[in-house]
C-alpha cells in the first residue's frame, strides 16, 4: 500500500512537468490559418509563469531549464536560448510570488503580459547576438500577441490540473 501511495504521489508531482513537455510538442503543429503566417504562442512561458506562482515545488528552476532545452530542440531555436529565458522568467516570477498570489485574474494577466514582452525582447536580442545579424522584431511581436491571447485558456487548463493533482494530502 505504501509503495502504491508513493507511486501515486510521484505521478501527481510529475504531471505538470510532463504536461508542459507535451504542450510544447503540440504547439509545433502546423495551423494553416488562412490569411497570415501565425506564430504559435509560447506555451512554455505561460506554464512557467503559472506554476512558479501557484506550485513552485512542482516546477522548480531545473524543470524550467529542461523545458527550455526541450523547446529549443523541437522548435529549431539556438540551443540554450529558451532555457535561459525560462530560467530568468522563473526566477523573477518566483521572487514576485508573494505580491502576485491571490490577486485577481486581470492583474495576473497584466503581469503576464509584461513578462511576455520582456521575454520576447530577450529572445530578439539573444537571437541577434547568436546569429550576429540584424533581425526585424515583427515575428516576436506577433508571438507576444498570440501568447497573451492563449494565456486564459492555458491557465484554465493548468488550474484544472492543479486541482486534480492535489489528491489526498
Amino acid at each position: 500500500m505504501n509503495a502504491l501511495h508513493r507511486l501515486d504521489r510521484t505521478a501527481r508531482n510529475l504531471a505538470p512537468f510532463a504536461l508542459v513537455l507535451g504542450l510544447v510538442v503540440i504547439a509545433t503543429l502546423p495551423l494553416r490559418l488562412p490569411g497570415y503566417d501565425a506564430t504559435a504562442p509560447n506555451v512554455a512561458l505561460i506554464a512557467v509563469f503559472y506554476w512558479a506562482i501557484h506550485r513552485p515545488d512542482l516546477l522548480p528552476a531545473p524543470a524550467a531549464f529542461l523545458i527550455g532545452v526541450w523547446q529549443d530542440l523541437l522548435v529549431g531555436a539556438p540551443l540554450g536560448i529558451n532555457a535561459l529565458l525560462l530560467l530568468v522568467a522563473h526566477r523573477v516570477v518566483s521572487a514576485q510570488r508573494r505580491i502576485l498570489i491571490g490577486k485577481s485574474f486581470a492583474v495576473m494577466w497584466w503581469a503576464f503580459a509584461v513578462t511576455a514582452f520582456a521575454a520576447a525582447l530577450g529572445l530578439w536580442l539573444l537571437t541577434m547576438a547568436f546569429h550576429a545579424a540584424a533581425l526585424g522584431p515583427e515575428p516576436a511581436l506577433i508571438q507576444i500577441l498570440s501568447t497573451i491571447a492563449a494565456y486564459p485558456f492555458l491557465t484554465w487548463l493548468f488550474a484544472w490540473v492543479q486541482h486534480a493533482v492535489r489528491g489526498p494530502a
Binding site: 503543429l29 502546423p30 523541437l74 522548435v75
Partner: protein, 283 residues
C-alpha cells in the same frame, strides 16, 4: 557516542543548502554553455535535435492529419462564399492550360525526334520521396518545417525540397523518421538563382520575411517586377531550373521575390534525391 546516522545527516544538510543556493547560477551558466556549444558543434547539436524530433514525430504525424482536414474544411467554407467568381476564374485558367498542353505536346514530340536524331541517352531520372509537413518551426526567428520522412526513407542532408508550385527549400538535418527543411525565407537560406527572361545571375537571400531578397553582383543585369526566378544550379546545391517565385518591387527595400509556394500552408512536398556526380558518359 553519537549514532552514525546523526553525523551523516549533519553532513548532508549544509551540502543541500549549498546546492540550492548555487542551482540557479549553475543553470544560468549551463544555458550559456549550451549556446556556446551550439555555436561551436553545430553537427552534434543537429544530431541531438534530429533525435529529439524523431521521438515526437509519430505523434506529430498522427495529430497533423486531423488538423489539416479541419484547415481544408475551413478553406472550403471560405470558398463557398464566392463560388461564381471562382468558377469564372477557373474556366479562364482551364482555357489557358489547354493551350499550354497543346504547346507542350508538340514540344515533346519535337524533343523526342531531336533526341533520336542525336542518339542522346539521358541519365537516370532523379528519384524523389513524397512527404508531409508535420510541424512548422514554432521558433520565432527560424523558418523551418519538419517532414515525416527520414534517413529510413532515403532522405539526407542537402537534398532539395519542392512542392507542386516550386521550390520549398532544402534538408538541413535528417533523423531516421523525420527531417528538418530550411525554407527559402529563412535567415540562413542562400540560393543561387537566375532570372528566366534575361538569364542574369543573383543570390536569393532569406531574412525571415515572407519575401526573400534578391542580391545581384551586377546590379545593372536585366530584372524587372514580374520576372520569374529559377534556380541556377550553381554550386551544385540545387538542380537547375526549379521555379522559385516572381519578382516584386518594394519601395526602398530593393527587389524581393514572392515565392510561388504558399510557405505557410504547405502540406505535401517532394524531396529530391541527388544523383551522385559520376564520370561523364563516354562519347
Amino acid at each position: 557516542m553519537r549514532p552514525l546516522a546523526g553525523s551523516a545527516t549533519r553532513l548532508v544538510a549544509p551540502v543541500r543548502g549549498l546546492a540550492q543556493r548555487f542551482a540557479f547560477p549553475f543553470l544560468i551558466l549551463a544555458a550559456f554553455g549550451l549556446m556556446l556549444f551550439g555555436k561551436a558543434e553545430t553537427v552534434m547539436v543537429e544530431r541531438l535535435r534530429a533525435d529529439a524530433v524523431d521521438i515526437v514525430s509519430p505523434i506529430l504525424a498522427g495529430l497533423s492529419r486531423p488538423l489539416a482536414t479541419v484547415a481544408d474544411m475551413a478553406e472550403a467554407g471560405g470558398r463557398l462564399v464566392d463560388l461564381h467568381a471562382e468558377n469564372r476564374r477557373l474556366r479562364a485558367q482551364n482555357r489557358r492550360l489547354l493551350r499550354w498542353q497543346q504547346a507542350a505536346r508538340s514540344l515533346a514530340a519535337e524533343n523526342e525526334s531531336l533526341r533520336r536524331l542525336l542518339d542522346y541517352a539521358p541519365g537516370p531520372e532523379a528519384r524523389s520521396v513524397a512527404a508531409r509537413v508535420i510541424a512548422k518551426s514554432g521558433g520565432v526567428f527560424a523558418r523551418t518545417v519538419l517532414v515525416d520522412a527520414g534517413e529510413r526513407h532515403g532522405v539526407a542532408k542537402g537534398q532539395t525540397v519542392v512542392a507542386d508550385r516550386g521550390l520549398v527549400g532544402r534538408i538541413v538535418s535528417a533523423g531516421s523518421l523525420s527531417a528538418r527543411a530550411l525554407l527559402v525565407t529563412d535567415l540562413n537560406s542562400r540560393i543561387p538563382v537566375l532570372v528566366e527572361r534575361s538569364r542574369a545571375r543573383a543570390i536569393l537571400a532569406g531574412d525571415n520575411r515572407p519575401r526573400p531578397r534578391l542580391e545581384f553582383a551586377d546590379p545593372a543585369g536585366g530584372v524587372a517586377a514580374g520576372d520569374r526566378i529559377l534556380t541556377s544550379g550553381h554550386g551544385d546545391l540545387f538542380p537547375v531550373g526549379v521555379p522559385i517565385g516572381v519578382v516584386v518591387a518594394e519601395d526602398g527595400a530593393g527587389l524581393r521575390v514572392r515565392p510561388f509556394v504558399r510557405l505557410h500552408r504547405i502540406e505535401h512536398v517532394r524531396i529530391l534525391e541527388r544523383r551522385a556526380p559520376g564520370p561523364p558518359p563516354a562519347p
